[in-house]
């Protein structure tokens, strides 16, 4: 029998060495050389003999135990490991099945309580009630531990390396959901084992209270009331733990599922495109958006005039040609494109005065049209230009005063 005081004293004395080792033991077992290496790094002044003595002490106190069938490898004694995990606030998620097993036990204890009351065995009744109370505390402790462990699962997923694929990063979340949360949802459901078990125990306790009043006290009413209150606390605690688990893990689980769906969708789309071309992507799925518009170029006065004209628009009366009337002779001139005008201008080089040439070409042309061609042709890089003196030109409708250009072939062409 190992003296508990010696164990506790060793833990307290060697806490600075044991705490970092806990993390290593969380991940697995350690061989004797690995343990010596770890301790050697922490105790730089210690001799090998001192390290051996330290390890020997831990083994004698059952803090370290050899791994079954591997006597050269060691692990922390499971009880000590749990105690240290509690002190380090490290929580390992338990199994939902454990809670279910506890509940079955609670139901059995309720049966024993009923039996003890029926045979009026006050001592056994008090013992069974204490056992029930302790078991409820176990469940509460476990729920609290699981809740902390769930927080840890969510935190690890959120703070994991962003470069790791989401599927790997959230593997623990998905496993926790399937192995803990999903069974817990079933367990804590209105018709689940948890609720049914709690109700059964509660009924026994309430009946006992009533019967005690009728038949006389076997145990203190306070004990019954306290146990009943703890049962209700356990019920609330289970529901809160489940709600917290859903709040923590559901968004992460949905994210992981969505991520998988997006990756899968992209791969499928690419395979369809490889086989059938870009047009094979379903049209309905494609986002519609306006083609990026080029910016409208126009002075404010132009826009104003345009809007004004629109506002004052009046349709011209439709005039139909008379059957007897003469048709207009000659066909309407074909529209002139920039290319046609540039060609004509190029053939007419050199032009001593561009504006005068334009007026010769288009004597009936509208002033704005002539000015457009004047601007367009004089700016074209294929002509060399020389500015002329300002003078007046007479178009079909206006007097225009401007400095025209003389257009020449560029030097290379001239040469």
């Amino acid at each position: 029998m190992i003296d508990p005081k010696r164990v506790l004293r060793a833990l307290a004395e060697h806490w600075t060495l044991l705490e970092p080792l806990c993390e290593r033991f969380d991940a697995g077992t350690l061989s004797l050389p690995e343990l010596r290496l770890q301790l050697g790094a922490a105790l730089q002044d210690a001799s090998p003999a001192e390290i051996t003595a330290l390890l020997d002490q831990w083994i004698r106190l059952d803090i370290l135990v050899p791994v079954a069938k591997s006597p050269n490898r060691f692990e922390l004694n499971a009880q000590i490991h749990d105690f240290l995990a509690y002190l380090r606030r490290e929580h390992r998620l338990g199994l939902c099945l454990e809670i279910e097993a506890y509940l079955r036990h609670l139901e059995r204890l309720a049966g024993h309580i009923q039996d003890a009351f029926e045979i009026r065995d006050g001592q056994d009744l008090a013992r069974q009630l204490r056992l029930l109370d302790m078991r409820v505390r176990d469940v509460l402790k476990k729920l609290d531990n699981d809740e902390q462990a769930l927080v840890g699962v969510a935190e690890r997923a959120k703070t994991g390396d962003r470069q790791i694929p989401l599927r790997q990063r959230y593997a623990e979340v998905l496993a926790t959901w399937d192995e803990y949360v999903e069974p817990m949802i079933q367990l804590v459901a209105a018709d689940g084992a948890f609720e049914q078990g709690v109700r059964r125990v509660e009924q026994v306790l309430l009946r006992l209270l009533g019967e005690q009043q009728r038949l006389g006290q076997l145990v203190d009413d306070d004990l019954l009331l306290r146990t009943h209150a703890r049962i209700l606390e356990m019920q609330t605690s289970a529901q809160l733990t489940l709600r917290r688990a859903r709040e923590l893990l559901l968004p992460l689980r949905e994210e992981a599922r969505r991520h998988n769906a997006v990756t899968r969708g992209a791969a499928l789309a690419l395979s369809v495109i490889r086989k059938r071309g870009l047009d094979a992507v379903p049209q309905a799925a494609m986002p519609l958006f306006t083609r990026p518009q080029s910016n409208f170029l126009g002075a404010a006065s132009q826009v104003e005039a345009y809007v004004y004209a629109l506002a004052r628009f009046q349709p011209k009366p439709a005039l139909f040609p008379k059957a007897t009337g003469n048709r207009k002779s000659g066909t309407a001139r074909a529209p002139q494109t920039a290319r046609e005008m540039l060609d004509r201008c190029e053939q007419a080089l050199p032009l001593p005065d561009l504006m005068a040439w334009l007026l010769e070409q288009e004597p009936e042309g509208a002033t704005d049209e002539l000015l457009y061609w004047f601007s367009r042709l004089s700016r074209d890089p294929r002509f060399q230009r020389e500015r002329l003196e300002r003078r007046e030109y007479l178009t079909a409708g206006h007097h225009v005063s401007l400095s025209s250009f003389a257009l020449l072939s560029p030097p290379s062409v001239q040469g």
């Binding site: 997006v262 519609l288 958006f289």
Partner: protein
Amino acid sequence: MNIDLKEMTQLAPIFRELFKGYHLSRSEPECYAQLSTMQDQYRALFKALGYELVCDPRGFYYFVPEQVSVGVNKTAQRLALFTFILVESLADQGRDPLAVLDGGTVGRDELPALLEKYRDLFVQAEVTTLEELEEKIIRRLTQLGFAEDSNGIYRFLPPMHRFLDVCLSVQQDRDLAATLHSKDLPLPAPVLLDEQSAEESEEDALARAIAEEQEFDA
């Protein structure tokens, strides 16, 4: 509903951007903040003017274009293809595609390898060189508010969810097809906007307009 134009201090820039096909998100803080606080007023005003403002809860706004004027155009196909490629490529590299496409970044230096690896697919979108990839895809992404470019680092913005939704929708389509045991998926060909006709030069457009007017007057 009362709409007070005086309160809509960002109306002009908001309309200008949305009209251009831009997606407004937090990258345009002033416009975004006002749209968020006066969402209903803006939606009502734009509706009265014939524009449908979509307020996506994931944090972005855009106009639904008129069906007649905009089909599923080449740009949408290219951008969707780029998203598919990026998701697959990032997943292959062990990176998290959603983290990158929802607020993360990709560097310009990653594009050559991407183009090389997925050349066969990019060719289908008429993208064969790095310049074309930047011009036809990256520039479009920034023009439409899906990403922002800061010196060769491309940060993806919330509107990218529209393309991630395409991935989800494709996946669901396939699921549906699988349940129907269909060997041949009914994937209709998208109606494409003919970009060539839309890319008429300014001079030609003006000359044609003048000629048309002349004909009309005659």
